[in-house]
């Protein structure tokens, strides 16, 4: 059983007599234990899809199954969600918030679990301070602690690092990886930070104007749009024209650029360079990033 199965989901909003197609026949599956990235520009339908999963929105057509069931209170108790910009009642303290949700989730050994999370997210010194005084990062740490209270089987993360300092964002990413690896937690992540998605996700789906454009492993979807990559070598001397022609190199002084199709081609080229007696002084590989992919797909659409 997949933690998330979305089958042919469509949703249209009617705003001032205008129809806005938020989701159009969306289907996807998130497998047990994977980190799945949902990419797309603003207004593409990412949050709408998450809202359907959270039972805050009813689709017009199709169905969503979370842990094998249509979203309902019992299912929601087994999963959790953390969103960037999360807010809590300003007058409450993290201790109040965590106690409340530990009660709601009926957490056994409530105190121990809260202490564990407080330590993990470095909330010790903030525990009894009113949330009104918190920075965005501190608030997110509280939201994270709340989201992990029930040891969710599935964690939905909607732009979790939005507005965070780079060091805090890195801690969040490390924690996501740890949860996934050590606790086998399935994670659905939406993010505008492509390096984050590239670093964390096993598979991604690209959603645009409510439609899924691509689904697959990060490498796979990139390869679909970028068949080649470039390698730039700085040699100890300018290569001969014959050598450059034979290996399809563009030469500029002692720098050469090659466009390669697969990983093996790089080792072959390096071997040939070595065989011809050139010394490689510097090497730079220009592989397409997920950001390149994002921009290209957006352009194509």
């Amino acid at each position: 059983m997949n933690p998330i199965t979305v089958s042919n989901v469509s949703k249209t909003f009617i705003i001032k007599n205008a129809e806005i197609k938020a989701l159009s026949n969306v289907s996807l599956e998130v497998k047990q234990g994977e980190i799945f990235g949902l990419l797309g520009p603003n207004g593409a339908g990412k949050t709408t899809l998450i809202n359907v999963m959270l039972n805050l929105l009813t689709p017009d057509e199709g169905e969503v199954k979370i842990l094998g069931e249509t979203p309902n209170p019992d299912v929601l108790r087994q999963i959790n969600v953390v969103a960037g910009g999360s807010q809590f009642h300003w007058a409450m303290t993290p201790r109040d918030v965590l106690n409340f949700f530990a009660n709601i989730y009926n957490i056994p050994n409530k105190k121990e679990r809260i202490n564990e999370l407080v330590k993990l997210l470095k909330l010790e010194h903030l525990l009894d301070r009113k949330i009104t005084w918190f920075s965005t990062g501190e608030r997110l740490r509280v939201a994270f602690a709340k989201a992990l209270l029930n040891k969710p089987k599935l964690l939905l993360m909607d732009e979790p690092t939005l507005g965070l300092d780079p060091d805090v964002a890195r801690n969040v990413r490390n924690e996501v990886q740890r949860l996934n690896k050590e606790e086998g937690m399935t994670i659905l992540l939406t993010s505008h930070y492509m390096h984050e998605v590239e670093q964390l996700c096993d598979r991604i789906a690209f959603i645009y104007e409510g439609k899924i454009v691509d689904v697959g492993e990060v490498k796979e979807v990139k390869l679909k749009h970028f068949a080649t990559y470039d390698i730039i070598l700085t040699l100890d001397k300018k290569p001969t024209t014959a050598f450059a022609k034979e290996h399809g190199l563009q030469v500029k002084g002692n720098r050469v650029r090659a466009t390669l199709h697969d990983e093996d081609a790089m080792s072959t080229l390096m071997a040939e360079v070595h065989k011809a007696g050139y010394l490689v002084k510097d090497i730079s590989i220009k592989k397409p990033t997920l950001e390149d992919y994002f921009i290209k797909v957006l352009g194509e659409q």
Partner: protein
């Protein structure tokens, strides 16, 4: 209905009220000063017409009680909307019904606590309330039922059409009170709209309150009439709330309101 969730929310609301300084004072301040003003008016008016002052005082007591019960429930919901706390609660497996039920329970507790204080103050100004405590208690129960029904309806409206309709939390009751003919006989309304008073939840509550204030006989029939109308409101409010949730989830308002 999940009692565990309901109790957790009530406890959290109680904690929130404790954490927000002046909150309880603010909730008590307006009805208490209002009862004090009308209590003094009742004393002052003794020399002119005893009953007028007592009518105003007794009706005000029930008015304040209704306002506390309805407004506190809706304000607790609005506070969750303003602080975005509602999303965390609704996605944690708490049903919308458990959520609202908890808010109603908290507001009922507040209304009964402060209402008892107001009752004591009003009685000390000469309103014959302790002398008719059984009827007063029954009438308070009926008024509570009608107020909670309005709180449910208002919550449903806010969730289905948006938080900008939050103003209904502190304004809608006023219209219902006006149309329930609080200080006067409903025959004073133009004939064309008099029928409305018949279906207002508080018309017979205020009629009975006026009877208590003047020492007139309270008929069981009037009490039953008041009960049936408020009970009907209460029974119809829940399906309306269910419909509102369904419609809010369909229109997307529920997800917008929760963010």
């Amino acid at each position: 209905m999940n009692l565990h969730n309901i109790i957790s929310i009530i406890k959290n609301d109680a904690l929130m009220i404790r954490r927000v300084k002046w909150r309880l004072l603010e909730v008590t301040y307006f009805p208490l000063t209002s009862i004090l003003i009308w209590g003094l008016f009742a004393l002052h008016s003794k020399q002119y017409a005893v009953e007028a002052g007592l009518i105003v005082l007794t009706v005000n007591l029930f008015w304040s009680f209704c306002q506390l019960a309805q407004q506190q429930a809706n304000m607790l919901v609005m506070e969750d909307l303003w602080t975005f706390n509602i999303k965390h609660v609704l996605v944690s497996g708490v049903s919308e019904f458990d959520y609202l039920f908890a808010k109603l329970a908290t507001s009922t507790t507040i209304a009964i606590t402060i209402g008892t204080l107001l009752l004591t103050v009003a009685n000390s100004f000469g309103a014959p309330l302790f002398a008719n405590i059984k009827t007063v208690a029954m009438l308070a129960g009926i008024a509570l039922l009608g107020s909670l029904a309005l709180a449910i309806i208002i919550t449903g409206i806010i969730l289905s059409v948006g938080r900008e309709y939050g103003f209904l939390s502190w304004s809608l009751l006023q219209l219902f009170i006006f149309l329930s003919a609080p200080f006067f006989n409903r025959e004073l309304f133009p004939e064309a709209i008099r029928w409305i008073t018949e279906i207002m939840p508080f018309t017979y509550v205020f009629e009975t309150a006026r009877a208590i204030a003047t020492g007139a006989q309270v008929t069981t029939g009037t009490l039953w009439h008041a009960f049936f109308i408020t009970a009907a409101y209460f029974c119809l409010a829940w399906p309306f709330f269910a419909w509102s949730i369904k419609s809010a989830k369909k229109s997307g308002m529920m997800s917008r309101i929760a963010h």
